[in-house]
Assembly symmetry: C2
Amino acid sequence: MLTQTVEYALRAMACLAFNPDELTPTPTLAEQTKVPASYLAKVLQMLSAGDLITGRRGVGGGYKLTRPAKEISLLDVINVVDPVERIETCPLGITGHDRLCPLHYRLDQAAKAMIDLFGSATLANLIEDAGSSIPLCDQQTATKLRVKK
Amino acid sequence: MLTQTVEYALRAMACLAFNPDELTPTPTLAEQTKVPASYLAKVLQMLSAGDLITGRRGVGGGYKLTRPAKEISLLDVINVVDPVERIETCPLGITGHDRLCPLHYRLDQAAKAMIDLFGSATLANLIEDAGSSIPLCDQQTATKLRVKK
């Protein structure tokens, strides 16, 4: 249901959250997130345009978060690449529909559920809750990241 | 968050649910759902391939539901065009991730919320709950449909 782009954006942001103070090289990010390099480049451009990350493209380029991981919710990330919007009026513009029809009421409830779920979790939560399964990283990388922290 | 195709498929199915016993001509469906005819044709093909509707394409063609509206959940419709799947194992295939990482745990929770929400509502519920806002129909059409029921 979530698009591939949303999934990739969340993976990239989770990885950057582990290394907030320096630029992570784009090839490292591609390797850790297992996102194809060209697709990742597009996702990073979107995240940069959305002011969630800063850095530079191309050879020797890399990115880091623009603000602390605890100030970036998963919803912030999703909204940059595929915004979740509540449905407040009839999307078909039907005259006389002064309240949502049962179909669009349910679609709105789905949007609300996504906003509640992803708006209440930050990138920092992903790291705090990690335990033995650090997001997106194999055990070897995970160990390195733990030592680094 | 839900794709355009999902939204259009749900609109088409809601409209067909109002007229379960006869073929609804495709142009009528396009008019009522406000979905562009060529896009609607593709959506109807998917719904037909998914065995939710039956009928014929082309001039003079039309469609109807294959089974009663109370036996078709919104999730059945969604799953034909853009399946919602629980995440049971690490999508990155990372060795040592014997349970989901915090990111994929939350993505799985989102999938679960969608399955619960849309799996518990049928096309018949959309009609029963309609009140003054019959799904997808302007007031004039709505009146006609009410008389027909």
